[in-house]
């Protein structure tokens, strides 16, 4: 028995691992089933749109993943079991084991669901406008880079509070709260400036708040849009994602890419400092 086995037992002898698997599998099944209904009603449903549906629905799985990882990282919430760990293993061993199990597990689940949806949608839906592999690979690369920020932020929020609930709430507040508050502030700003007629796709160029929010590292996740780029989108130079149109530009999320690369090590170091200096 070692820490790796312990974490795997923690995942698979409880609801945690199976629930995560269930959510990603469900996201894939739902994307295909909804696609079938839309295809029957309107026809010409493309496999790229099925993938967009999958990515939308799998956000629920991602939120569950956040909760599970953060609660696991908040191991000091139970002082006595924490003593068991801390007196036998180094902090580096404890944290690295958790991250090296949970983060790849979540990524594997996401991409397994993605591949499952690709296969099913290629069999069932319109494939006349094929996916562009080079863009898909670029999207996967940026998505993997964004994982660094998620991991660092989860580490940091887990290290701020000792309690599980407070840590999970703070993490969710950061991930959901920042975009929500940002969108509200953009709306207020555009109202105040009399620019409410601006189409949403232009908000991030017109609004000062929108421009600032582009530096929020989590915005790098918008690069998921590259996972569904099709041949016609390459020809038109525009991509459609979550009902919005963007200019197809490989550098369209370069600002959050920079802030991710800068902020992730800082957050990780701050978290490390807090973890190692915490008295229990």
């Amino acid at each position: 028995m070692n820490l790796w086995k312990m974490e795997l037992i923690h995942l698979f002898r409880s609801w945690r691992g199976w629930t995560l698997i269930g959510f990603y599998l469900l996201a894939s099944i739902l994307a295909v089933v909804i696609g079938v209904f839309i295809d029957r009603a309107y026809g010409n449903f493309s496999h790229a749109r099925a993938l967009e549906l999958y990515m939308t629905i799998s956000i629920v799985g991602f939120l569950v993943f956040l909760g599970i990882v953060v609660s696991s990282l908040a191991f000091d919430s139970n002082k006595d079991s924490s003593i068991f760990l801390r007196t036998r293993f180094t902090m580096k061993q404890i944290i690295l084991t958790k991250l090296l199990i949970y983060v790849p597990f979540s990524s594997i689940l996401f991409y397994s669901g993605f591949i499952l949806t690709v296969i099913a949608s290629m069999l069932l839906f319109d494939t006349s406008d094929p996916l562009q592999l080079d863009w898909v690979l670029w999207g996967i690369f940026l998505e993997l880079v964004s994982v660094f920020f998620y991991v660092s932020l989860m580490l940091f929020t887990s290290s701020v509070f000792r309690g599980t609930v407070a840590s999970v709430l703070l993490t969710l507040a950061m991930f959901i709260g920042v975009p929500l508050i940002g969108t509200t502030l953009i709306t207020v700003e555009l109202l105040m400036r009399g620019l409410m007629d601006t189409p949403p796709v232009e908000w991030e160029n017109v609004s000062y708040v929108g421009r600032t929010l582009l530096w929020w590292p989590a915005a790098l996740s918008d690069a998921q849009a590259f996972l569904t780029v099709t041949e016609s989108e390459v020809n038109s130079g525009m991509i459609s994602f979550f009902g919005q149109s963007f200019e197809l530009d490989a550098h369209f999320r370069s600002k959050p890419l920079i802030s991710t690369l800068v902020s992730s090590p800082i957050l990780a170091l701050l978290a490390w400092r807090r973890y190692t200096r915490r008295e229990i």
């Binding site: 028995m1 070692n2 820490l3 086995k5 312990m6 037992i9 923690h10 002898r13 409880s14 139970n78 002082k79 006595d80 079991s81 003593i83 068991f84 801390r86 007196t87 036998r88 293993f89 008295e279 229990i280």
Partner: protein, 233 residues
């Protein structure tokens, strides 16, 4: 042979409260030392500082053994509820896996009276069973210094006797520092004792050397010491 542990003027301050106030302690190798005092006397704080779980405010700690050869059992040990008792002890063996083989897991579970429950998940264990399991996890690596924080507090009389016997058998093999407020336990198994109150040592020395009047028991002598110097009601 140098002592296993020497504490010199160890002090820990929480805000305005002196949890430990210039505490001195010397643990001879192979001895069993009792650390006695009422609730809030600073027993757990001292053990936590020695184990590296809390930082000292001032004072010196000198180990005569390698730091990794020390193990702490907290007063209310807790474990990951989905693991079985066998898995918990095996996990505790991991840092010592080169010196201790897998067979030792069953042996130590038998010693603490948990062999019948070895394959049960510990989430369903009573506090007493967790305390026995805590002792097993502390002993599995055969550490040279064992810190036990009130190891018998949740045990029934038979369990308490068994655990005290286990501790007694460690004499000469490991150095044991165990905190308790059950005075008879100290008299039964300890070679030396430190009596503390409000973070200050009131007495440090052999169990038999505690100042007492003729015919006075060890328990009465310790109570007398606490009442006279420690403001204990």
């Amino acid at each position: 042979m140098p002592p296993a542990l020497v504490l010199k003027d160890l002090t820990k301050v929480f805000g305005k409260v002196h949890a430990l106030d210039a505490l001195n302690l010397t643990l001879e190798i192979g001895s069993i030392h009792g650390f006695v005092g009422p609730n809030g006397a600073g027993k757990t704080t001292m053990l936590s500082i020695v184990a590296g779980l809390k930082r000292k405010t001032s004072g010196d700690i000198t180990f005569g053994i390698p730091f990794h050869q020390m193990m702490l059992m907290p007063d209310t040990p807790d474990f990951f509820p989905l693991l079985t008792a066998r898995e918990v002890v095996d996990l505790a063996r991991w840092p010592f896996r080169k010196e201790v083989d897998l067979d030792a897991v069953s042996k130590i579970l038998e010693e603490v009276g948990l062999l019948d429950s070895a394959d049960r998940q510990v989430g369903g264990f009573s506090r007493g069973m967790k305390q026995r399991l805590g002792l097993a996890t502390a002993l599995i690596g055969k550490p040279q210094l064992i810190l036990l924080d009130e190891p018998c507090s949740a045990l029934d009389p038979i369990g308490r006797r068994e655990v005290l016997n286990t501790i007694s058998q460690l004499r000469g093999k490991s150095t044991v520092l165990f905190s308790t407020h059950i005075l008879s336990d100290v008299e039964d198994v300890c070679d030396s004792v430190t009596v503390v109150n409000d973070g200050k040592a009131l007495y440090g020395g052999s169990v038999s050397g505690i100042p007492k009047s003729e015919g006075q028991s060890f328990e009465d002598a310790v109570l007398g010491l606490l009442l006279s110097k420690g403001n204990v009601e």
